[in-house]
């Protein structure tokens, strides 16, 4: 059985480490915050200017001055700090954030990422995604393996890039893929979802990849 959205988020949460500062994108990445292991301290950064993002408020306690980067009402924690957008992206671009988990339309075997525009369609903008993938120490993509039966793990992205050679890991509903973005090892299948075969991965993946020896 391929992983569900929740199981993909749960798998992504295994990339968290105690003391990490983490930025979570919109969609499945947001669900990762539900799987932070008990006893582990992780501070969530919201690029609109908040570190230590708390849960959604109780009804009636929403504060229009307190939102996350998805414009959702949130709450503060004892560890919370607020700062300007310039300071926020100094954290991101300056390599102070440990982990960015975000969605994607396409990822290439060399770590190229496309997730911000489809030519010919109304473009909404890249927001902070280009800065996050350029600056954060480790970039993990969580996405469906295929879109309408079209592969999303490709030799080369054919959509405009968000970043070139930026992705370290991709978690899809079928498995986990690591990318040696600075080196020569390319993409490796590191894990398979329960019941997913290497043949199924082969049929649904355009990118070249190696198979982790542990899977043979």
């Amino acid at each position: 059985m391929p992983w569900t959205r929740e199981q993909m988020a749960e798998r992504a949460a295994k990339e968290l480490r105690d003391g990490f500062y983490v930025n979570l994108g919109i969609g499945i990445p947001t669900l990762v915050s539900n799987y932070i292991p008990p006893g582990m301290t992780v501070q969530l950064q919201s690029e609109n200017g908040m570190l230590g993002t708390g849960p959604f408020p109780f009804e009636g306690e929403e504060d229009p001055d307190l939102i996350n980067a998805g414009k959702q009402t949130v709450t503060e924690l004892p560890t919370t700090s607020y700062f300007s957008s310039a300071d926020s992206f100094a954290m991101i671009r300056g390599g102070h954030i440990d982990l960015s988990i975000l969605g994607a339309m396409q990822v290439a075997e060399n770590g190229d990422l496309a997730n911000w525009m489809i030519p010919g369609k109304m473009v909404k903008g890249m927001g902070g995604a280009m800065d996050l993938v350029a600056g954060v120490k480790k970039v993990v993509v969580v996405m469906e393996h295929s879109a309408k039966n079209e592969p999303k793990l490709l030799h080369r992205c054919n959509l405009p890039l968000t970043g070139a050679g930026v992705v370290d890991m991709v978690i899809t509903d079928l498995g986990v893929f690591t990318i040696d973005k600075k080196g020569v090892r390319g993409m490796t299948v590191a894990e398979l979802a329960p019941g997913v075969t290497k043949d199924e991965i082969r049929a649904k993946t355009e990118a070249n990849y190696q198979i982790d020896p542990g899977l043979n």
Partner: protein
């Protein structure tokens, strides 16, 4: 020199010109200077280029100036869910220049700090870098981006004194401090107007030197774009009720 003006129209009098570049603070609908935006609408000034992370939503925030067709071009990172924006853009009536959010923030910070250009890794190898100078530093590719200065910056603060010293509240700070520094003229609307000395100087975020004009907006409307809540299953410390500076 008196910085405090009786209302938003008075605070913008003599400043607005057709075709000018205006920076407007805020992220989504959080921390937007909406009273000043309404006064810009009422002035009828046209062909504006507006620098703002977002473009408001339909009929709220900068959506007000899209409805009235006073904006010619937006420089933004994300224009999201705004039907008026999409209609005008697809009809060729509105230009958009997308900047990565951090690049936009830094362009504004740099402009205010007298820095004409800087290099960033953001966008290297993407279409954002096309036509821009690139340099390699320590084995990495960087893209040159220009500083941005505005004819007018409009910002929203939680508290300000009559000297123009400003304090922001929670995530309503966002782009407001950099924009305050990058305007040839900066007009601030403040929810609470106090006398000098009432704000602890250690708590001031924007020093008054950056602010030329101030208007008091005690009843400014605040909007929530995505209202998200959780069930009250157990008593917990209420959010957002901490004591402010």
């Amino acid at each position: 020199m008196k910085k405090v003006y009786p209302d938003a129209a008075a605070a913008l009098a003599g400043v607005l010109k057709d075709g000018m570049l205006i920076m407007a603070g805020g992220f989504g609908l959080c921390g937007i200077p909406e009273t000043l935006i309404l006064a810009i609408r009422d002035s009828g000034v046209k062909n504006l280029t507006v620098v703002s992370n977002n473009a408001g939503i339909d009929s709220i925030g900068l959506g007000i100036l899209l409805d009235s067709r006073q904006i010619k071009k937006m420089i933004s990172s994300y224009v999201g869910e705004n039907k008026t924006f999409a209609q005008q853009y697809l009809a060729g009536e509105l230009e958009i220049e997308f900047n990565p959010q951090g690049t936009l923030a830094e362009r504004i910070r740099a402009g205010g700090a007298g820095i004409p250009a800087f290099f960033t890794r953001t966008g290297a190898g993407t279409q954002i870098a096309e036509g821009k100078e690139e340099r390699e530093f320590d084995g990495e590719r960087y893209v040159m981006e220009r500083g941005l200065v505005a004819d007018l910056s409009i910002v929203h603060a939680w508290k300000g004194d009559t000297e123009g010293n400003l304090v922001y509240r929670k995530t309503a700070r966002n782009f407001n401090p950099m924009m305050a520094s990058a305007g040839k003229i900066t007009v601030a609307e403040v929810e609470n107007l106090v006398e000098p000395g009432e704000i602890d100087p250690d708590h001031i975020i924007t020093p008054g030197i950056f602010v030329k004009r101030i208007v008091h907006v005690p009843n400014a409307a605040k909007h929530i774009e995505q209202r998200t809540v959780r069930k009250r299953t157990a008593p917990a410390t209420p959010a957002g009720t901490g004591v402010e500076v």
